[in-house]
């Protein structure tokens, strides 16, 4: 029989103040339920290419939907119960509070399962996590957006922001490269961006086909088409790891200050909360300090690109 005098009383952390107080979503660190997601319903699925689908999801609880706010460049963890959760960048407008759009490539275990899911299914999201593009700081400048392949997905949120606040920005150039013409994403928006939002769009593909009338080559070839005013420009770059090296190297040589170049990095993630250490770059968490870094930080981080 245990001697009751020496039994250590059990402490219930659920009773502590910070656990019972109302969740403040701007300071999620104070929230207890860090691994409990918001339930979402998939409201629409668009097949973009063979490998990519655009999922439109809507948070079920109206109160949670109202509270969920994100900034362009942030990501969320998409949970498919029984399969796992994956970090996905948010591709919809940050001012749109009705639904979220996620552009997902079929690449791994969870995303393959997600591709078999139909409209109306329930998933969960945790987040938003990570740093964002400093859109207010960029106001009043020329913007150079450079995307390679699926890199257009995280750039779509800042692009939406620019389009919605077009008068705050000067010239906006979007350089977009892909392997093949069929792999170009969001093509139905190209006209809208060019005609209505006055964004100069330059596309290029590595391997052309018979129907392709645009340019063929690497994304760096597009730099010949544009003139960059280095004193008044901000650049946002996202693409495969190899692209960063060439593009950022070129922009650096051109003279754009390092703190005005932003990249969005990709790493393996399991928690999104700076605990699992899987997304470590050098000694920085991609999930907390990233995924958006300025080029100066990236240069300081070993093995970043």
């Amino acid at each position: 029989m245990p001697d009751m005098r020496f039994v250590i009383p059990r402490q219930d952390i659920n009773c502590e103040d910070f656990a019972s107080s109302a969740p403040d979503f701007n300071r999620r660190s104070e929230m207890m339920n860090t691994d409990r997601g918001f339930r979402c319903r998939i409201t629409n699925i668009v097949q973009l290419t063979e490998l990519e689908k655009l999922f439109q999801i809507r948070i079920v609880d109206p109160a949670e939907r109202k509270l969920f706010r994100f900034k362009p460049g942030q990501f969320l963890m998409l949970e498919l119960p029984g399969y796992g959760d994956v970090p996905i960048s948010i591709s919809s407008s940050s001012t749109n509070h009705e639904f979220l759009e996620l552009c997902i490539r079929k690449a791994g275990h969870v995303t393959s399962a997600l591709f078999t899911v139909e409209e109306g299914a329930y998933v969960a999201i945790r987040g938003p996590f990570g740093s964002s593009f400093p859109m207010d700081e960029m106001a009043g400048h020329n913007i150079l957006l450079i995307a390679g392949g699926l890199g257009i997905a995280p750039l779509r949120a800042p692009l939406f922001w620019i389009n919605e606040h077009r008068d705050r920005f000067l010239d906006v150039n979007l350089l977009y490269g892909a392997k093949e013409p069929s792999q170009l994403l969001f093509t139905w928006q190209f006209e809208e961006w060019e005609m209505i939002n006055h964004i100069r769009l330059h596309t290029i593909v590595e391997h052309d086909d018979a129907a392709w009338r645009g340019k063929t080559g690497m994304i760096t070839d597009l730099f010949n088409d544009i003139s960059v005013d280095v004193k008044k420009s901000y650049a946002i770059v996202c693409g495969p790891p190899i692209m960063f090296k060439f593009v950022c190297g070129y922009l650096d040589k051109l003279g754009i200050p390092m703190n005005r170049m932003f990249v969005s990095l990709e790493r393996r993630m399991h928690c999104g909360m700076g605990k699992c250490c899987r997304c470590m770059v050098g000694s920085t968490f991609t999930c907390i300090d990233g995924p958006v870094f300025d080029y100066w930080s990236v240069m300081n981080l070993k093995e970043a690109i």
Binding site: P2, D3, I13, N14, R28, D35, V86, R105, C276, S283
Partner: protein, 359 residues
């Protein structure tokens, strides 16, 4: 902190009462190694007789009692098309007897990483709040280097810490729980002799260290030597087994996996400890590996252990217990790697292959 002195016999009675009334873990001999020396582990104990108070060091650390190898984080229950997530942050009180200062320091580091940051981990918090830690000092083993890491003494993170001063234990009481329990036992205020004995004991421990690592400016040296051939050299020895991270008292990296129940009526999310030396640690979807070579991963581990996350202002997480060095199957020892990096001669000779020429 309140200081008391308790006779060893009375202390055993105290531990016995505590151990008999609670779920407890203490050092026990589980095996002998090839040289015939005993192997200790933290195992469940029912009475004080089972605890080896004079143990040297356990092969694995006590972190598994707070961060289990496998831990179920939450469950999903499926109802037709819908599902529901169930999460509970529950932990039963546990008594840990006989933790060494380095083990307690490692718990303090884990507290810092897992609780004093963004998104505190409720699972760890529940376990930590329900852990009663009794620390004990010890004479260092020949390969302990916790003095170099400044973790050979500890002032916080325990409920009760006892220093061996001959006939008695000198107790540092750090919690009201421990103080109340001790009221039932015969203790006395330390007198001048006890204080002298404590100082002597500390000096003895301080002077017994045989292994030292020069960690002066190590973070910046690691930064400068990022492309050093030393990493490739030691990487060739590394077997990528991940043993070092499993025995480490402060390694906490993990992976999350989800699986369906066999009846398909539910699913569970499990967290399992992982090691940065395992090949797929940094593989992203699509197959790109950000750390493809052995040396890259070994280097990353040393970065985490000895550089900390310097950019984030965090501390180094190595406490100098050298469990990884003892457990490594290919004989990689942090002392040798760091000394090699510092271009110390004797360590360059220990490794099988000589250091490639520095350009």
């Amino acid at each position: 902190m309140i200081y008391k002195v308790i006779s060893k016999k009375e202390f055993r009675r105290f531990v016995d009462a505590l151990v008999k009334s609670n779920n407890s873990f203490g050092p026990r001999q589980v095996d002998t190694d090839s040289q015939g020396s005993p192997v200790y582990q933290f195992k469940p104990v029912q009475s004080v007789e089972e605890i080896a108070f004079d143990y040297t060091a356990t092969a694995s650390s006590a972190k598994h009692l707070l961060l289990p190898f496998r831990e179920e984080l939450s469950r999903f229950a499926f109802h037709g098309d819908e599902w529901e997530q169930q999460t509970s942050y529950e932990a039963d009180p546990v008594v840990l007897v006989g933790l060494r200062p380095c083990d307690i320091s490692a718990l303090n580091i884990l507290d810092d990483v897992l609780l004093n940051s963004h998104f505190p981990s409720p699972y760890y918090l529940a376990k930590r709040k329900n852990t009663f830690v009794i620390g004990m000092d010890h004479l260092p083993l020949p390969d302990c280097f916790c003095k170099s890491m400044n973790h050979h003494t500890v002032t916080i993170g325990f409920n009760l810490f006892c220093s061996d001063i001959g006939e008695n234990y000198y107790l540092s009481i750090n919690s009201s729980k421990a103080f109340n329990f001790l009221k039932e036992f015969e203790t006395r205020e330390p007198n001048h002799d006890d204080n002298c004995l404590l100082v002597e004991r500390r000096k003895l421990i301080q002077n017994s260290f045989q292994t030292e690592i020069d960690v002066t400016a190590l973070p910046s040296i690691l930064d400068i030597e990022f492309d050093s051939p030393v990493w490739e050299k030691w990487g060739q020895k590394c077997l990528n087994c991940g043993t070092c991270a499993m025995v480490c008292p402060s390694c906490y990296c993990y992976s999350l996996t989800e699986s369906f129940d066999t009846d398909l009526k539910g699913a569970r999310r499990e967290k399992s400890l992982y090691s940065c030396n395992l090949v797929d640690f940094a593989v992203v979807a699509g197959g790109h590996n950000f750390r493809p070579k052995n040396g890259d991963r070994l280097k990353y581990r040393y970065y985490h252990q000895h550089r900390g996350f310097a950019e984030n202002g965090n501390q180094q997480i190595c406490v100098g217990c050298n469990r990884c060095g003892r457990a490594c199957l290919s004989g990689i020892n942090p002392k040798d790697v760091i000394n090699d990096l510092r271009m110390e001669k004797e360590s360059c000779l220990i490794c099988v292959s000589s250091s490639p020429a520095r350009i």
